[in-house]
């Protein structure tokens, strides 16, 4: 499987005419890129990546699966939804120029998703990547400073 970067780079470097030609295929490539980034995360934590779909998209099901064991993962929920939105918007566009524009935005979003997950994987031992998504009242956070250990690093 190509890396998500390879996919998004390939989409980003496609000429407009090629990008507009087969929207279903381009959409699938971009969603695959997002999914493969999430699969890496889920797999790295020893789980079997889900084949389920949420609202018709495996990407959203994978995100839900990843966030279940690590609430900090909610920080990329909107990024996943934006990727789905941009891909849908592109596919639904009759205008070729608009279709290309949405696909290019989708590629940027997929790249961001990959960068986020990649950075998070790399830095897991350093603590929370996204402090805003820290579980606010996890059971182990009561009254002690033991919660400095990130939930993702527990049990490994």
């Amino acid at each position: 499987m190509d890396s998500p970067f390879a996919i998004t780079d390939a989409v980003a470097s496609m000429p407009d005419c090629e990008l507009a030609r087969s929207p279903a295929e381009t959409k699938s490539m971009l969603l695959d890129a997002g999914e493969s980034a999430l699969v890496r995360w889920v797999g790295a934590h020893g789980s079997e990546p889900t084949q389920d779909r949420v609202e018709g998209f495996r990407l959203l099901a994978l995100h839900r699966q990843a966030a279940l064991r690590d609430p900090t993962f909610n920080a990329c929920r909107e990024t996943c939804r934006e990727l789905v939105y941009q891909c849908n918007a592109a596919e639904a566009q009759a205008d070729a120029g608009e279709r290309v524009r949405h696909f290019r935005l989708a590629a940027a979003v997929a790249t961001h998703l990959f960068l986020f997950i990649d950075g998070k994987l790399e830095n897991e031992k350093l603590g929370e990547f996204c402090c805003s998504s820290r579980p606010l009242r996890s059971q182990d956070a009561v009254g002690t400073s033991a919660e400095t250990q990130s939930p993702a690093s527990e049990g490994r």
Binding site: P71, N74, A75, C76, E78, T79, R81, E82, Q86, R104, L105, A106, A108, V109, T111, H112, L115, F116, D118, G119, E122, N123, L126, G127, E128, F129, C130, C131, S132, S133, R134, L136, R137, A141, V142, G143, T144, S145, E147, T148
Partner: protein, 307 residues
């Protein structure tokens, strides 16, 4: 103009006294220009930011609750925090105190220890600078007060992550028409559009800037910021408007770092939304602290007849 937020308590937070000084200055100047009054909290303390929260979340709740109590004791029912981190933490403290007995216990214990009365949830409402201007003035009235339209200036509005996440601490958001959206926030877009700007569609408006790891893993942060910058440019933006001092500093510093370390130069400018609004209201660039930004936008602003 509504009386609702005409006079509110002001909690600038630590960042606005340091790297985000231009945000502090421009927020105050915009308030003055619009006839709104800010009364700074007396003897405020750090909101607990990221550092305290990561060591002991309950201590962070206490620190933020103390600020809310100060606002209450000063006779205010609303406190405005322009920094996303402070805004988030005050909201989180409010949520914790409403929903979590252990948080209430900790705050009561620490308050008693410091000889103060503990803050009780529900007495002070925390708002962001975006809520403040939008609700006190309204977009229609704001449009009428514009002296130098931002007309033609293409803006990518970047909200960052802490303004909308996690959703449950912002009960007033996602309440339908007129309320803020956590998935596609639009209050900054609305204000800048009222000032004449052209808002571009920006798909990364709430995406992570890597702020939490800006020092511990600069490369990851630089890559994330570079993607934010190149995407803004691809969307046709001249400027990225910010509403968080951490995001703003991160975008500026990593824009330079991306060029130095990765050889990737981007030219999109980075300005606080309050700086843009201030100039639209006829204030000079200097008065809203444009010279304090690392991202030098003076040539662009001059060319557009702003500041």
């Amino acid at each position: 103009m509504s009386d609702k937020y005409r006079k509110v308590a002001y909690y600038p937070g630590c960042a606005l006294e340091g790297t985000g000084h231009a945000y502090n200055r421009s927020t105050k100047e915009v308030g003055k220009a619009l006839g709104l009054e800010l009364v700074e909290l007396q003897n405020w303390n750090c909101c607990g930011a990221m550092e305290v929260k990561n060591v002991d979340p309950k201590l962070q709740t206490f620190l933020s609750a103390r600020n809310l109590k100060i606002a209450e004791d000063m006779g205010f029912d609303t406190v405005m925090a322009p920094c996303n981190g402070c805004y988030h933490n005050l909201k989180k403290a409010e949520y914790d105190l409403s929903h979590d007995a252990a948080s209430r216990e900790t705050v009561e214990k620490l308050s008693a220890k410091s000889g103060a009365t503990a803050y009780q949830a529900g007495h002070v409402n925390t708002i962001h600078a975006l809520d403040w201007i939008r609700d006190a003035i309204g977009t229609e009235e704001l449009g009428k007060r514009v002296k130098n339209s931002l007309s033609g200036l293409k803006i990518a509005n970047y909200y960052g992550c802490m303004y909308t996440r996690p959703r449950h601490i912002f009960p007033e958001k996602d309440q339908g028409a007129g309320s803020e959206s956590t998935s596609k926030p639009h209050f900054m877009d609305d204000l800048l559009a009222a000032a004449g700007a052209v808002n571009v569609e920006y798909p990364l408006k709430t995406a992570c800037c890597g702020g939490a790891h800006t020092l511990s893993d600069s490369d990851t942060s630089t890559r994330l910021v570079l993607n934010l910058l190149t995407t803004a440019e691809a969307c046709g933006a001249d400027v990225i408007a910010t509403e968080c001092p951490t995001c703003h500093s991160g975008l500026e510093m990593h824009q330079m770092r991306a060029e130095k370390v990765f050889g990737k130069k981007t030219t999109v400018k980075i300005l606080y939304f309050t700086q843009l609004l201030g100039m639209a209201l006829g204030l000079s660039a200097r008065r809203v602290g444009v010279h304090e930004n690392f991202s030098d936008s003076r040539d662009l602003l001059k060319a557009r007849g702003l500041g």
